[in-house]
Amino acid sequence: MTALSHDVLIVGGGLAGLRAAVGLCDKYDVALMSKVHPIRSHSIAAQGGINAALANNPDGRDDTWEKHAFDTIKGSDYLGDQDAVEAMCREAPAIVYEMEHWGCPFSRFPDGSIAQRPFGGAGYPRTCYSTDLTGHVLLNTLYERTVMKGLRVYPEWYVARLAIDDGVCHGVVAFDLMNGEVVPVTAKATVFATGGYGRVYLYSTNALINTGSGIGIAYKAGVPLKDMEFVQFHPTGLIGTNILMTEACRGEGGYLVNTRGERFMERYAPKAMELAPRDIVSRSIQTEINEGRGFDHPLGRYIKLDLTHLGEQKILAKLPGIRKICIDFIGIDPIREPIPIMPCQHYSMGGIDTNARTETEVRGFFAAGECACVSVHGGNRLGGNSLLETIVFGKTAAGAVDEYLSRQPAAAKEEIVRGAARQVEGRMAALVAGGREKSFSLHGELARTMSANVGIFRERSEMEKALEDIDRIRERYRNVGVSSPTRHMNYELMNAIELEFMIEVAHTIARGALLREESRGAHWRRDFPKRDDEKWLRHTIARMNSDGTCAVSFRDVTITRYQPMERIY
């Protein structure tokens, strides 16, 4: 095995990873590894926009970053750490201007300024956008920057393990898909920007690559995870394919309608209506469906997202991507017909436990973006804040890594990374030698139990069932085999490797959800339907014991100036 060596290794080529790379590659030997070409990363699929209090919108001239912070904290159901939220919202305008200066083609207002639209849970129209392709334009812009700077990218290299010894990260073990080789990579600093875990669920808006294995890899290497029970369900996923129908559909004036023709949000959030935060809208839709006011479809029950009253011109100008997806994937033109939608898993509020500097408790190991939990989203993320988080904390990670390297840490130890590489080789040999179990069917069982038992509405017996199922799946995983010993471009092999980590991600979600006996943000317990600040204004920290079991502890939320209040919209 030939080992590679870099000063900094960034894992993940989405917005967070690329932004971290842009901030470091002029000064250090930086490499970025991604299991897909960076431009294929899931950031590309973000539609609606990025929040920043620019006050460009005529209806929001007195917007400020403090108001943005308040909306974010209230939206988080007070589980967000307020110092981190404030830092993110203060930085937001500079981040958006920087992306614009680098070429990001935002939509514009008539005065030539960046256009901003209303979004859920926000008191002001502060979501900057580029029609309904905001992730696409941001990712292209950042990728263009890395091309300009000549960043070293290893596309289609899957990072399969962290090499941590005695509280210090020495690098990773990578799997070069094109050549089928396992490669030890030493690095003085490693940044994970590996994205969310949507594919742990059956119904998810996420890309197929969003397995969350980066989160699981960190967990299995002893890095604690935070608030894993907080899973965002997006109100409007297309029925069948679960493709995201952006919140901008409602931001631009779309209605949610049940079988009685009612705009039912009136009952749940009379003021904000369709633009209440996602946790509330998703629960409202699910309640309508559960109580028999959903429409029937061979692929499940649904609610209508009606844009027809917006008119052709507005839909073509503001939501062209949504229209094209509807026509391509369900044969419906939203100019003429409502869109059939259902709530689907969408975002991972929880993740690798970091502070507001993207540092983990392991020296030389940093995490940013959806795989990390700072926490700025707490119990529920507001739409438009995830794109913001990726770029703000990608940039923050660059600063933190720079600072770490300027203190001249000891050289990474190659023997530690080689030891980890031998473990990965052993794992692959076992998978190739093959047992009877198939990775895809175990993945299916895992996703089904998560969607059925750790979904929008939760209760003890269901989550206990999920944990039992997960234990059984973990046992059966030992007997997984793959069809072919050929390693290059072997996606079955890669899926099997990732499943090991998905199982632990699922476990920490279900475990946290079972322990948290309250309802907060996206975590809603039928058996504990009230928020309990006395006992639960705390983060859940999950850590893997040396015997593989999960130890859970709790940490107080940081409060600065926003005292918890009842959440009414």
């Binding site: 070429g103 091309v147 197929l208 094209k324």
Partner: protein, 246 residues
Amino acid sequence: MITAAAYTFKILRSDRKRPDERPRFQTYRVKVIPGLTVLAVLIRIRDEIDGTLSFRSSCRSAVCGSCAMVINGRIDLACRTQVASFGTNTIILEPLPNMEVIKDLVVDMTPFWHMYEKVKPWLIRQTADPEKEIEQSEEERSRIDQFVNCILCACCYGACPVIARDPDYLGPAAMAKLERFILDSRDERPEDFLDTVNDEKGVWGCDTVLRCIEACPKDVRPTDSVVDLRKALVRKKARRLLGMKK
């Protein structure tokens, strides 16, 4: 009730690491319910029938550009192509042309990215950045609309007859990307930059047979950019001949 129909998928298999084996079509018989995409069926084949099959995929919603291939002779994204859209129960899948096949439906896109990098695909500014945004009118923004939509899937690159005979030709995607910046009111690249595409490997190489437009899953028209870049070069030449400065 949903009823499934029987389909035959014929997929061209090969492996760069086994050059002695000739590419061959492998046949898979599957039951398909209405509404399923080619990608959904490919995933089922890999999961349930043949784990050795290789293809790329990610977003399954026609935005990431991973799954371009030839589907019954037509280049498109597998994720947005309905299996039932062909009026036949036989679906033939082949890898994207004009690039070397790594394995099965996975091609080596290195030359495609190389051409993309050649046009300096980033915003070039001479003036210092303002404190806030660089102003741009709605009309100026709308000029780049169609080129911004490009997802770099290489459908056009695979469809281009010029690349088929001249691998050094820049190709439609790179040209569309260059046009995206040339048309951007904020871009300040020197006018001489166009000289880098002023030859048969660049804008003059295009056959203007519009295969790229036909192949694009996002309604981008790379030929528009070729025509526009040619006009700009002609104008520039005319100005030089007339002794005008700019």
